[in-house]
Symmetry: C2
Subunit: 126 residues, 2 copies
DNA sequence: TTGACATGAAACCATTTGGTTTCGTATAAT
DNA sequence: ATTATACGAAACCAAATGGTTTCATGTCAA
């Protein structure tokens, strides 16, 4: 239970290259919007909207200082990604491709022993 | 150097929840399109398009068997994600928030010691 | 107090995305 | 030979996305 109902999920937030660059830029500390947008070839408003999306995903925090708003990285939500990834790590030790796993699971290779349409992924998130 | 010029990048490919479910479903082995689409509340064609996107990102492989096309997981491209994530791991040990890092880096907190606008992220991908 | 700076909100726009239905074609089954 | 199955391609559509410009507001500086 980190942020309450994050309007944007982490997967979407990091899907955009500009937003990934934003995260990287904010790694070194707090920066106000104008300075941040100076690093990008688009309007300040556009950058501001990206920052909003990152904030909605919990990946950046903001703080008002006088007339400026400073943003900083909060990497914590990336742990969700880490957990998601961990599930797949064993599959890229290509000691076992999906094909091989299938064949070895039962030697049939014909018939209809496909995933039973129910009882598959009983209820895990994704 | 895995796939040559992947038309879709991994970040985008996994941004969609349906596609993440597809990956999970294909973990256990090869499946033909019709069986796959049976697990989703949308048309076969829609699922097929998702599979195409995953294939473009290198996350699934396909194989023609008679009149069917069977898809299987290829987790290898997820290693890129893993590397990307690794960069941020040290930041979610919240022993040090971005704010703290900034303050401790130099005690100024005023002035203009913001990221120098050049010499920032000299040339790393994202 | 007057003007400049920092920012978000709003309205708008083109393109991409995620979905649909319809159709053509290759393969398998009768 | 005919029919049924598996699939992708194409045309289409609504909504989301990534961007723009303009405007209003709050804060700092002269």
């Amino acid at each position: 239970m980190s942020a309450a109902s994050p309007k944007h999920d982490v997967f979407q937030a990091i899907a955009d290259r500009t937003r990934r660059k934003l995260l990287k830029l904010l790694v070194d500390g707090e920066l106000p919007v104008t300075v941040i947008s100076g690093h990008f070839p688009m309007s300040r408003t556009a950058v501001s909207k990206h920052l909003r999306i990152l904030a909605d995903a919990g990946l950046v925090k903001e703080r008002k200082v006088g007339r400026e708003t400073r943003f900083r990285l909060d990497a914590e939500p990336l742990q969700e990604l880490k957990r998601w990834l961990a599930y797949y790590e064993r599959y890229w030790d290509n000691k076992m491709s999906a094909l091989q796993r299938y064949v070895e699971a039962d030697e049939v290779m014909d018939d209809k022993p496909y995933a039973p349409l129910d009882a598959v992924n009983p209820e895990t998130k994704d």
